[in-house]
C-alpha cells in the first residue's frame, strides 16, 4: 500500500433508480495533504461520486479504501466519524439559527445532561474559527451574513467534526473574486495543517491556481489523473470532452439599433429591508448585448427580476418597445416579446416533473393551439420540440422523459431552447452558463450571439468576468444597488479595470453613467 494514498476508490458502480449509470467502474486516488481537483462535463458523475464518499448514496459495487483499510460508508454519520467532511454546493445551513448553533448542531454541548449549554457552544465555535484563522462572528444569524461567511461556516462545520478529508463541491460558484481569494488562502492553511481536500469546479483557472493534482471524469468514469504542473488548461478540457473545443466565441461587431427597453429610477427594497436597487437607469438597444457585471449581492439579480416582472419595484418606470409598462408581471412583459433565462433553473426555469416537451413551450402555448383556440396541437409541439432538442443538442432519451432526469447542463439547454425564441426581441439572460460545462456553455453563448445578430436586444447578467468580457458589446457595473459604471465598448475593457468598479474602488460620475441614456 502506498503510504501517500489516504483515500482510494476502486471499481465504483452507481445506477440511479431510472436506470442511468452515473458511475461506472470509477477508480480514484487522493494523496495525503494534497488539494485534488475533480473536473468533468455535465452528468459526468462527479457529484454522485462525492455523495458516495460522504455516505449519501450507496454504490452498487466497488470498494472504498481509507488509510489502507476498506470501509463501508452507509451514511454521513459514518463518513464524519471516518474523518470525511463535505461542503455541498448548495448551502446546508439553518437560516434562522446562529453560526455557532449551525456549527455545533448534532454535537451540542450539554448541561445537566439534557439542556443546551449556550456558553460552552459559543466558546467551542469561536475557538475553532480562530484555530483556522477564519475571521467570523459566531453569534450572527445565518440569515444576516454574506455568502462568503456562509461558505466559511460550512467548512468550519466539517472541520469541527475533525474532517481530515474535505470535499468541496463547486465551492467558488457563488463567491466573489475577493471571497474566492480569501477562501484559497484558507484552503492553503488547511493543507499546511495536514488536511486533504477534494475540490470540484468548472473553473479551470481556479484549478490551475490552487490544486496539486487533477482527476478528469467523463461519462461516469475517471479518464485521467495528472499533476497540475504537468498539464495545461487546454489539455484538461480536451480530456474532459474528448474533442477540441473553441474557447472563444467568434462574433462580429455589434450594430446597435433603436432602444427597445428603458428603465428609469428603479427602486426595490428586499425582504430584509435593504434597498437592493437604488435608482437604476438603463437603456437597451436592438442588436446589442449589454452585460450587467457586479459582485454577487449588489442588485444584479434584483434588476433582472424587476425587468422580468418577477418582483415589483417600489418606484420607477419601465418602457418596453416604446410602451409604458403599468403592471410588473411576467405575463405582461412576455407579451411585449421579452424572454428570460432565469438564474435558478430548477425553481424558475422548469417544471422538473413534467416532460421535456411540456417544458419547451410553456411561455408560448397559445401559439400551439388548434384552430378552435382551446385544444393543444400535440403534433406541432412534438415536431418543434424534436427540432429544438437537436438544435440545442439536449442529451436525452426521449422528449417525453421528465426534465428531472437530465443533468444540470442539459436542463439549462432546455431552458435556453425555450427562451431563445425566434420572435424574442428582448432577452434577459441571467447567469446562463453558471455551473455547466464548457461544451454546453459554448453552445449557449453561440446562440446568444446568433440572436443578437438577428436583431434581438440582450441583457446579460453574469458573474463570470470572462463571459462578460467575451460576449458583451457594452457593460454596466453594479455596486450597492446603483449603476457604478457604463462602458459603451466592452472590448476596450480589461479584467482589472472591471474589478475596480465592481468593488467600488473606482466610480464613474453621474454624467458618465447616464451616457447610456
Amino acid at each position: 500500500m502506498d503510504e501517500k494514498v489516504i483515500l482510494k476508490v476502486e471499481n465504483i458502480w452507481k445506477v440511479y433508480p431510472n436506470g442511468i449509470v452515473a458511475n461506472k467502474n470509477v477508480n480514484f486516488e487522493v494523496h495525503k495533504g494534497e488539494i485534488h481537483a475533480l473536473i468533468g462535463e455535465n452528468g459526468a458523475g462527479k457529484s454522485t461520486l462525492m455523495k458516495i464518499l460522504f455516505g449519501i448514496e450507496m454504490p452498487e459495487e466497488g470498494r472504498i479504501i481509507l488509510n489502507g483499510e476498506e470501509v463501508k460508508i452507509e451514511n454521513s454519520k459514518k463518513a464524519i466519524s471516518l474523518g470525511i467532511g463535505m461542503v455541498h454546493q448548495h448551502f446546508m445551513l439553518v437560516d434562522s439559527l446562529t453560526i455557532a448553533e449551525n456549527i455545533v448542531l448534532g454535537n451540542e454541548p450539554k448541561k445537566y445532561g439534557l439542556f443546551m449549554n449556550k456558553a460552552q457552544m459559543l466558546k467551542q465555535a469561536k475557538e475553532c474559527s480562530e484555530k483556522y484563522n477564519f475571521n467570523i462572528n459566531v453569534g450572527d444569524k445565518i440569515e444576516d451574513v454574506s455568502v462568503g461567511v456562509k461558505q466559511k461556516t460550512e467548512i468550519l462545520k466539517a472541520l469541527v467534526r475533525g474532517a481530515k478529508v474535505l470535499i468541496l463541491d463547486e465551492p467558488t460558484a457563488v463567491l466573489t473574486p475577493q471571497e474566492t481569494k480569501e477562501l484559497f488562502v484558507e484552503l492553503n492553511t488547511l493543507k499546511k495543517q495536514g488536511h486533504t481536500i477534494i475540490f470540484i469546479s468548472h473553473k479551470l483557472n481556479e484549478i490551475m491556481e490552487i490544486c496539486d493534482r487533477v482527476t478528469i471524469m467523463r461519462h461516469g468514469t475517471t479518464v485521467d489523473t495528472s499533476f497540475i504542473k504537468d498539464t495545461s488548461p487546454q489539455d484538461i478540457s480536451n480530456k474532459m470532452v474528448g474533442r477540441e473545443i473553441v474557447l472563444h466565441v467568434d462574433k462580429k461587431p455589434a450594430k446597435p439599433g433603436e432602444v427597445c427597453l428603458e428603465a428609469r429610477d428603479i427602486v426595490y427594497v428586499n425582504s430584509i429591508g435593504k434597498k437592493a436597487l437604488d435608482g437604476v437607469n438603463l437603456k437597451l438597444r436592438k442588436g446589442e448585448i449589454l452585460s450587467v457585471a457586479g459582485v454577487e449581492g449588489n442588485g444584479q439579480s434584483e434588476l433582472a427580476a424587476v425587468l422580468t416582472g418577477m418582483i415589483k419595484p417600489v418606484g420607477g418606470s419601465l418602457k418596453v418597445l416604446g410602451k409604458e409598462i403599468e403592471e410588473f408581471e411576467p405575463a405582461v412583459l412576455r407579451k411585449n416579446k421579452l424572454t428570460y433565462i432565469p438564474e435558478d433553473r430548477m425553481t424558475n426555469g422548469c417544471a422538473a416533473k413534467l416532460s421535456i416537451i411540456d417544458n419547451m413551450f410553456t411561455d408560448k402555448i397559445e401559439s400551439f393551439l388548434k384552430k378552435n383556440n382551446v385544444f393543444i396541437d400535440k403534433k406541432k409541439m412534438k415536431e418543434q420540440a424534436e427540432f429544438l432538442v437537436k438544435d440545442f443538442s439536449v442529451l436525452c432519451g426521449s422528449i417525453n422523459h421528465q426534465v428531472q432526469m437530465l443533468s444540470g447542463g442539459n436542463i439549462q439547454k432546455v431552458v435556453a431552447a425555450r427562451e431563445l425564441t425566434e420572435d424574442a426581441e428582448i432577452i434577459i439572460a441571467e447567469q446562463p452558463t453558471r455551473g455547466i460545462d464548457a461544451g454546453a456553455s459554448e453552445l449557449i453563448r453561440r446562440k446568444i450571439v446568433e440572436f443578437r445578430d438577428r436583431g434581438a436586444a440582450i441583457l446579460l447578467v453574469s458573474a463570470d468576468l470572462n463571459e462578460v468580457l467575451e460576449l458583451s458589446d457594452s457593460t454596466i457595473v453594479m455596486h450597492n444597488g446603483k449603476v457604478n459604471a457604463y462602458f459603451k465598448d466592452t472590448s476596450k475593457l480589461t479584467e482589472e479595470e472591471l474589478g475596480y468598479y465592481m468593488l467600488g474602488v473606482k466610480k464613474q460620475t453621474e454624467k458618465e453613467v447616464n451616457a447610456i441614456l
Binding site: 439553518v94 439542556f115 467534526r161
Partner: protein
C-alpha cells in the same frame, strides 16, 4: 340575553373553557412539535381516536384508568411512528398517509369496538373508569381563581404543563435544536451526520405522546367511554391552532384557548333563541377568521415595513 352575559362572566364559563381546551392544547402541542420538524401531521386526529379506544379497553380489562392513560400514550406513539414509517421510510406523501390513517382509525376503532363489545356505537357497556380530578391545595381557597383553576381533571393540568415542557424541549435542548433544524433546513441536519429520519421519528413519537394524552382525556376524562368518531375533528382544530400560533407552543396554546372560548360561548349561546346551527358554526368560523387575521397581519406588516424602509 342577560343570562348569557351572566353565564359568560361566570367562573364556570372559564372553568369549561379550560376543560374544552384541554384536548386541543395537548393535540396542538403535538402539532407544534411535528410542524417544527417539518411534518404536516393531520394524522393526529386518528391518533387521538385510536388512543381513546385503547385507553378505554386497557382501563377496562387492565389495571384501571392510569394504566389506560399509559396505554393510550403508548398507542399514540406507536400510531405516530407507523405514520412516520410509511411517510418517511416508505416515502409516501405525508398528507396522504395521514388521511389514509385517519380513514383507518375511524373504521378500525369501530371494527375493534364491535369485535369486543358487539356495539358499533359506544363502549358504554364496559366499566372503564375515569382519570381523577384534582384540587389544587392553596389555589382552591382563593375565591374566584379557585373556582376556575382548581378541581380540573388531572389531564387538564398535564396539558398546561405540556405547553411549558414543549417550550423547553424546542428552545432549550439539543433535541429541540435538531427538531427545528429538521423543519427549517433538513439538508443542514443530514450534512452534519444527524439522521433526519431519526429526528423526525422522535418528533413524531413526542407528538404521539401528546396525541395519546389528548385521546385518553376524551374517553377517560371528559367522559368514561369511547364512542364512534368521538374526537369529532379536534385533531384538525389542533392543526389550525398550530398554524394560527405560527408553530410556537405559546401561540398554539393561545389559539387553542381562543377556539375553546368560542366553543364554550357556543354552548352558552344555545340558551338564547339564536338558531343553534349558527351558534355551532361559531368556533370554526372564529378559527378561520383567526387564521386569516394572522396571515393578513403578517403580510400587511411586511408591506408596511418595506414601504417605510423605501422612504428612508
Amino acid at each position: 340575553m342577560s343570562s348569557v352575559l351572566e353565564s359568560i362572566f361566570s367562573t364556570t364559563f372559564l372553568f369549561s373553557v379550560i376543560r374544552v381546551a384541554t384536548p386541543l392544547i395537548l393535540a396542538s402541542m403535538g402539532a407544534v412539535i411535528t410542524s417544527n420538524a417539518g411534518i404536516t401531521n393531520i394524522g393526529i386526529e386518528g391518533v387521538m381516536l385510536v388512543s381513546a379506544l385503547v385507553g378505554v379497553f386497557s382501563s377496562a380489562f387492565g389495571f384501571g384508568p392510569w394504566f389506560g392513560f399509559f396505554m393510550a400514550i403508548i398507542t399514540g406513539v406507536i400510531c405516530s411512528l407507523a405514520i412516520g414509517y410509511v411517510s418517511m421510510s416508505l416515502k409516501a406523501d405525508s398528507v396522504l398517509t395521514c388521511i389514509a390513517f385517519n380513514t383507518m382509525a375511524i373504521g378500525g376503532t369501530v371494527y375493534f369496538m364491535y369485535a369486543v363489545v358487539k356495539d358499533k356505537g359506544t363502549t358504554i357497556a364496559l366499566q372503564s373508569g375515569k382519570l381523577p380530578s384534582v384540587e389544587i391545595p392553596i389555589i382552591k381557597d382563593i375565591p374566584i381563581l379557585g373556582d376556575i383553576l382548581s378541581n380540573h381533571n388531572v389531564v387538564s393540568y398535564i396539558a398546561f404543563l405540556m405547553i411549558f415542557v414543549v417550550y423547553i424541549l424546542l428552545y432549550k435542548t439539543p433535541l429541540g435544536l435538531r427538531i427545528r433544524s429538521a423543519g427549517k433546513a433538513p439538508n443542514a441536519l443530514s450534512s452534519v451526520g444527524v439522521s433526519l429520519l431519526k429526528t423526525r421519528y422522535i418528533a413524531l413519537g413526542v407528538s404521539g405522546i401528546l396525541g395519546g394524552m389528548a385521546g385518553a382525556f376524551m374517553s377517560m376524562g371528559y367522559v368514561t367511554w369511547f364512542s364512534k368518531n368521538m374526537t369529532a375533528g379536534r385533531g384538525f382544530i389542533a392543526l389550525a391552532a398550530d398554524a394560527m400560533g405560527n408553530s410556537t407552543p405559546v401561540g398554539a396554546a393561545l389559539s387553542s384557548l381562543l377556539f375553546a372560548v368560542a366553543e364554550a360561548l357556543s354552548y352558552s349561546l344555545q340558551i338564547t333563541m339564536i338558531p343553534p346551527e349558527l351558534v355551532q358554526m361559531l368556533p370554526y368560523l372564529v378559527t378561520i377568521i383567526g387564521l386569516v387575521a394572522y396571515a393578513a397581519r403578517k403580510s400587511s406588516l411586511d408591506k408596511k415595513k418595506r414601504k417605510k424602509l423605501a422612504e428612508q
